[in-house]
């Protein structure tokens, strides 16, 4: 919400109070009663000293969930060596607690975190002195913090890619051969594996054979997507076949790079672990939960 070009309220909790996000139930009620999603009450949140939290929150089930999501940003070169790798992590929270809870989240290994940025609710001084995250949470979903584990630390790369993409000088055709295998997965399964290749403009079509998953080549955008799914360490997925090029066009100079997408449940690749969550200021006992996920961020293999 802006006033004369100056941002007045960007806090999502305040905005949600102004215009409530639509739900199925609410839109049904609205069609019947003729009301709308615009809040009837005035947004008092703006006046509060803790603008991110609604007043008078009440839940029957008090629960607090934290998702530690880590993304691996990496560039691997042709031979599979890591040119650059780092981990970008975020902790997403879903806090549904009544009243004004004051939470403290601590880690087993906080020194791991190289660079952090916090939601305004986090008391930075306590982080600096004790390395714990102390905060009065906003109500509902929010991003508590994001962190960065830089290239200085060794970053585990969960998969390796063997690839060979070549174009022939004559005959306007090329060959493609990609194999993906597990590398450092910490004993977990790699899921949701997708390989995306941006082909050169002259590639007209691809005639390939995938041992696992499906592939799709879009001749308009020149993007080849190979959706592998779960990675089976016993039988490595392979994509092999020929590419046909525009006839008469010179062989492309460049080799396309591969973008990898993947997901590993129940693992934070950096090894970050939440130690405990304490609550002060309220009497009830909340239900607490932490989930870890590792994903590929900007994960690129050069060829």
């Amino acid at each position: 919400m802006l006033d004369n070009g100056f941002p007045l309220a960007t806090e999502s909790n305040i905005l949600k109070e102004l215009i409530r996000p639509p739900t199925i139930l609410r839109s049904m009620v609205n069609t019947i009663t003729g009301s709308s999603n615009v809040g009837e009450t005035l947004p008092t949140g703006q006046l509060s000293t803790i603008p991110w939290r609604r007043a008078g929150v009440k839940y029957t089930n008090n629960e607090a969930y934290f998702d530690v999501v880590e993304e691996i940003d990496a560039i691997l070169d042709k031979s599979g060596t890591t040119v650059f790798a780092e981990i970008q992590g975020v902790i997403d929270a879903c806090v549904k607690l009544s009243g004004m809870p004051d939470l403290t989240l601590s880690f087993m290994n906080p020194r791991l975190l190289d660079d952090v940025s916090f939601h305004p609710c986090v008391r930075y001084k306590r982080w600096e002195s004790e390395r714990v995250i102390s905060f009065v949470p906003p109500d509902g979903n929010f991003q508590l913090m994001s962190y960065h584990i830089s290239a200085q630390n060794l970053v585990a790369i969960p998969v390796y890619v063997k690839q060979n993409i070549s174009f022939f000088e004559t005959g306007s055709s090329g060959r493609l051969d990609i194999t993906v295998g597990p590398k450092q997965t910490m004993g977990k399964t790699v899921e949701g594996l997708v390989v995306t290749v941006h082909m050169p403009k002259v590639v007209l079509s691809a005639n390939l054979n995938a041992t696992q998953g499906t592939y799709n080549y879009d001749p308009v955008t020149k993007i080849l997507v190979w959706d592998i799914g779960k990675l089976n360490p016993q039988k490595l997925p392979n994509l092999k076949g020929s590419l046909s090029l525009q006839s008469g066009a010179p062989k492309p100079e460049e080799n396309p790079s591969l973008n990898i997408d993947l997901k590993i449940q129940q693992l934070a690749i950096s090894g970050l672990k939440v130690n405990r969550l304490d609550m002060y200021g309220e009497k009830y006992k909340p239900f607490k939960g932490v989930k870890y996920v590792t994903k590929a961020g900007k994960f690129q293999v050069r060829t």
Binding site: D3, N4, F6, P7, T10, E11, G34, V38, E40, L42, T44, L47, S48, T49, I50, P51, A55, G56, D73, I75, V83, F84, Q88, G99, M100, D102, D115, V116, S117, F118, H119, P120, C121, R123, Y124, K125, R126, E128, S129, E130, S134, Q143, S146, H148, S150, A151, Q152, H198, P200, P250, P252, E253, E254, N255, P256, N259, Y280, G281, K298, Q300
Partner: protein
């Protein structure tokens, strides 16, 4: 009424499949149906159902959003501005803001609603009324806006004050002549201690009067301390402003280093004989170089902004980064690198801005980003402009140690599909080669290999870069030149052809056999070349003519002849010029002798520079920096001052906590300040939600306090550093405190006296309450008290009936200033009847009162008999409805009727109100703006002291004195009898008999009249 809903429901049925406002405006039927449609909108707006109004307003706002004209609905819409439904109201506001400027007269109709809204007990309504009022761009209401802003600036609620700050730039853009008054408001709001206001008022400051740096002095430390708790967007504005402020007030922290650099550079270049001189000069410069001590305020700013680098908001991080870049000592700037690198994970728009700034920073402080070199590696999926910027940063970061990795990286980039990016990569290689001598040959070889690349653009770019590199050492590379000469047959890109031709011409002596042949080929294709190539052909011809005229004389003439008839006048000009210069004729001037020197002079090698060099004279993070051109509204970043301005201007008197006896106490207080809350209680008593927040806040505050306590005892070096610094500050303050002590003592005495005074007032108040309970005869007892309160003997008698006119009956009245016990909202009028006749008068009573509407009279009980020569006093009550209209009635005796009237002076329409000093200030704060009347006056000769003033004022008006800390001020408070509105009077005396009178009262009429009366009383 019944017709309207049915019409609407038809309408709705029709619009269900195809929404009304979805019609194509170009379709033919639009005009006829348009008219109708507006009609039904009007009907809906006039209906008394909120849902219909809402629907209509939604459609109207949708029309506005689609750019359709909805202005003819203005009257119908404006009516609804007073609608109770908040949602309708909001949409009407949106409409008003859009169309008020066009229909100024009609817009004025809505103003009164806003004025009422400004008085609403709910702070949110007050704020939104002000927001819309200030968004209406109608010049006539400028004075109203000004008043409203002034009033809101002293509102109880910080939220309303924040809105007032937002309104300031709007009013300033509407009427720049209000600047001076607005600056006053800004000054007042800058002193505000709440975090909510701080950001907005600084924004207003930046818009209205960014050059008034003097307004910041007193608030500097407060702003620094509040910064962490201000909302994000406010932080950005404050940090940018403080950067500018610090540049004017503090010394350059790197001053010694820059001197050192200069010195060492000098020593490096100095020849032997100069060195001795230097040695002599050195002690002098050393003496001049004072040890730099950072101003504690400068340190405060750096320390308080540092945690904001961890903000989730990219704008805040960027603002802090630029602050550190511009203000921090060299050794400390490094900390921003990490945060900036983090921002590069963000959206590509953010990346773009951050990279621009990193590019500028990396030129001046290369070391800062070197550890993060790999973060600038380029992915094939990055957008081109991001790639180019990353390349720029990588090039800036290249040095002897990392050049091999960077070059290896560059080699992969050259294979990219993105041709613009490849071209930029080649340029980057060229720059690395010029900057780092060791790799020049490697780079050159790599570039030469690129000459055989299939892609013409790559080759062309390589040629251009190679040309620049060859200029540095042409002797060793004649083979490359030969190779390039061969390329001219294939390369079509004009810039590359021109570059090759220039190279051959320039170094034709290294390739004596090839050069004439190239010219021959080019002469053949001359007419088909681009202009830039033609110019270089002429150039080549001229150079060959000078060095090898035997082989190329005819060719040159041929080329010059072709050029003579070229379409482009530049080329014709050049041909003419060159012919005169090189071909010796009898007419040719003195210059032709020097033709060889002119053309074949040794040319300095080009310096390949970053386009981001020297961009840091723009404040980083600003739009101007991004554009590399001064944008409108850009505030120049001033240079550091030679010597620091007086730092004491920032000292603020903080009487409240300097009263703590020991320093330890104070420290504790400091620590106790909650981490994220304001130093002031924010909410009024009505906001229950807020008070809840406050409570929990203090809880969390203490938690964080305990945290920082622990850290204090810990061995964190940073913390201890902080403390010593704050100690220093405190010592400074200590001295001040001593000075102030004397003052404090005298103040304390006065306060004691005042509190005693206050006590007596309170007891009186209590007693009167007790009496009330006990059902005593009020009149008798209160008269005793009222005499102690109101100055004695000042009660003035007025004549109601002269004894001649009354045929012997004289009637006088006075305002007894006692509460009229039967009806407390009536003014008690004491009437004295004197019978001057020789006979008794009977049945004295009142009849037939003729009163203004709302006024009431409570008659006195009939006096049965008034004996001759006797007099009797009765009390009657009149409710004047807080107006000075006369009460007319008939006074009857048993024989006659007299028409009489009682007109009260305004001062009698009120009763004293007992307020404490704080209450008074609070109430006065609520009654600002239009409710405040200010008047300057010169005191009369007899008004020599406070006592006289008090006497005069209390005689004029039935007010009670309010205790006051200052002896220059007298304050009085009262309430109007009938409606109980507060009347506050302040008389401030000044040197030399001058004084200022302030009256605050909701009833403006009463205020104005009271001012007049008091003025008269005081200036007599």
């Amino acid at each position: 009424v019944s017709a309207a809903p049915s019409a609407f429901s038809d309408e709705k049925g029709g619009s269900a499949s195809e929404p009304e406002y979805g019609h194509d405006p170009a379709s033919g039927g639009i005009f006829s149906s348009d008219y109708k449609r507006h009609d039904d909108l009007k009907e809906m707006l006039d209906s008394n159902k909120d849902s219909l109004k809402l629907e209509a307003m939604k459609r109207i706002v949708a029309m506005i959003a689609r750019g359709k004209n909805a202005s003819d609905l203005f009257p119908a819409v404006v009516k609804n501005v007073a609608c109770k439904n908040i949602e309708v109201k909001k949409l009407v506001y949106v409409y008003l803001v859009r169309y008020a400027e066009e229909q100024q007269d009609l817009a004025l109709l809505s103003i009164s609603t806003f004025q009422r809204g400004l008085k609403d007990p709910n702070q949110l309504i007050r704020a939104s009324a002000l927001r819309v009022l200030s968004s209406i761009r109608v010049t006539i209401i400028v004075p109203i806006m000004m008043l409203a802003i002034k009033e809101a600036a002293s509102d109880m609620s910080p939220y309303v004050r924040k809105t007032a700050a937002h309104a300031i730039p709007k009013l300033h853009s509407l009427d720049p002549e209000q600047k001076d008054q607005l600056i006053e408001v800004i000054e007042k709001l800058l002193a505000d201690k709440t975090t909510l206001v701080a950001g907005s008022v600084v924004m207003a400051f930046e818009e209205v009067c960014p050059d008034r740096i003097d307004l910041i002095h007193k608030n500097y430390r407060k702003l620094c301390n509040l910064l962490i708790d201000v909302e994000e967007w406010g932080q950005v504005v404050i940090i940018n402003m403080l950067t500018r402020y610090a540049r004017t007030q503090f010394l350059n922290p790197n001053i010694n280093e820059s001197l050192l650099e200069e010195n060492s550079e000098k020593a490096f270049y100095a020849s032997d004989d100069e060195e001795e001189e230097d040695k002599k000069a050195e002690p002098a410069t050393l003496a001049k170089r004072k040890p730099y001590v950072m101003d504690p305020d400068h340190r405060l700013l750096l320390r308080n902004t540092k945690p904001l680098l961890q903000s989730r908001n990219a704008a805040v991080v960027m603002a802090v980064a630029q602050l550190y870049f511009h203000l921090a000592p060299k050794a400390e700037v490094g900390i921003i690198a990490k945060a900036l690198v983090r921002l590069m994970r963000s959206h590509s728009e953010v990346q773009y801005v951050v990279l621009q700034n990193v590019a500028t920073m990396s030129i001046k402080r290369r070391g800062m980003f070197e550890p993060y070199l790999k973060s600038f590696y380029i992915r094939s999926t990055d957008p081109t402009q991001i790639k180019v910027l990353k390349l720029e940063v990588l090039t800036n970061l290249a040095n002897e140690t990392n050049i091999s990795t960077i070059l290896r990286e560059f080699q992969t980039y050259i294979k990219s599909m993105d041709k613009d990016f490849v071209a930029a990569s080649i340029q980057a290689i060229g720059r690395c080669a010029t900057n780092i001598g060791e790799v020049r040959d490697t780079c050159l070889n790599g570039l030469v290999q690129l000459l055989s690349n299939r892609d013409e653009l790559v080759v062309a770019e390589s040629v251009v870069v190679i040309k620049k590199l060859l200029q540095m050492q042409p002797e060793q590379h004649s083979d490359i030149i030969k190779h390039m000469a061969k390329l001219i047959d294939n390369i079509q890109v004009p810039m590359a052809r021109a570059s090759i031709l220039w190279l051959i011409g320039e170094y034709c002596e290294h390739v004596p056999k090839i050069a004439p042949d190239v010219l021959r080929k080019m002469a053949k294709s001359f007419t088909n070349e681009e202009d830039i190539v033609k110019l270089q052909i002429i150039n080549l011809a001229a150079k060959l003519y000078l060095t090898n005229s035997k082989q190329s004389k005819l060719l040159t003439q041929y080329v010059l002849n072709l050029a003579k008839y070229d379409q482009n006048y530049d080329i014709r000009d050049r041909a003419r010029f060159i012919r005169q210069l090189i071909v010796p004729t009898d007419k040719s001037g003195a210059l032709s002798k020097y033709a060889k020197k002119l053309f074949l002079a040794l040319k300095p090698a080009p310096v390949l520079e970053s386009p981001f060099k020297d961009r840091d004279h723009f404040q980083l993070g600003s739009l101007s920096h991004l554009l590399n051109a001064k944008a409108a509204g850009y505030q120049e970043l001033p240079n550091w001052p030679e010597s620091a301005p007086d730092p004491s201007v920032r000292n603020v008197e903080i009487p409240d906590w300097s009263k703590c006896s020991s320093r330890k106490d104070r420290k504790e207080k400091k620590v106790e300040k909650p981490f994220y809350s304001d130093s002031e209680g924010e909410s009024g008593p009505t906001e229950s939600a807020d008070s809840g927040n406050c409570e929990s806040d203090s809880g969390s505050g203490s938690a964080s306090a305990s945290g920082s306590d622990e850290s204090g005892s810990g061995s964190e070096s940073e913390e201890s550093g902080e403390e010593t610094e704050s100690d220093e500050e405190e010592e400074d303050e200590e001295e001040e405190k001593k000075k102030r002590k004397k003052l404090d003592k005298t103040k304390a005495k006065k306060q004691a006296e005042e509190s005693a005074e206050r006590c007596t007032i309170h007891t009186i108040h209590q007693i009167s309450c007790i009496i009330n309970f006990d059902q005593f005869d009020m009149n008798k007892i209160t008269s005793v008290f009222s005499q102690t309160l109101a100055p004695s003997g000042s009660i003035k008698m007025y004549e109601l009936l002269h004894r001649i006119k009354g045929e012997g009956l004289a009637v006088e009245y006075c305002f007894s200033r006692q509460p009229f016990s039967p009806e407390p909202n009536m003014v008690a009028v004491q009437i004295q009847f004197t019978n001057n006749t020789n006979s008794e008068t009977k049945n004295l009573h009142i009849e037939d009162p003729r009163l203004q509407s709302g006024m009431r009279i409570r008659e006195f009980a009939e006096i049965d008999v008034l004996a001759a020569g006797e007099s009797v006093t009765v009390v009657m009550g009149i409710d004047f409805c807080d107006s000075t209209q006369a009460a007319n009635f008939q006074l009857c005796t048993h024989t006659r009727k007299f028409f009489v009237s009682i007109q009260p002076p305004v001062g009698e329409l009120m009763t004293p109100a007992f307020l404490t000093e704080n209450d008074f200030k609070k109430e006065q704060g609520k009654l600002m703006g239009m409710n405040e009347i200010l008047e300057k006056l010169t005191l009369g000769e007899k008004c020599v002291n406070e006592h006289v003033i008090v006497e005069r004022v209390t005689a004029t008006a039935n007010l009670s004195r309010v205790p006051c800390g200052s002896d220059k001020e007298c304050r009085f408070a009262g309430k109007t009898v009938s409606s109980g509105c507060l009347v506050l009077v302040t008389v401030t005396t000044k040197e030399g008999g001058g004084a200022q009178l302030t009256v605050n009262c909701e009833k403006m009429l009463i205020g104005t009249m009271l001012v007049k009366d008091i003025l008269q009383a005081l200036s007599q």
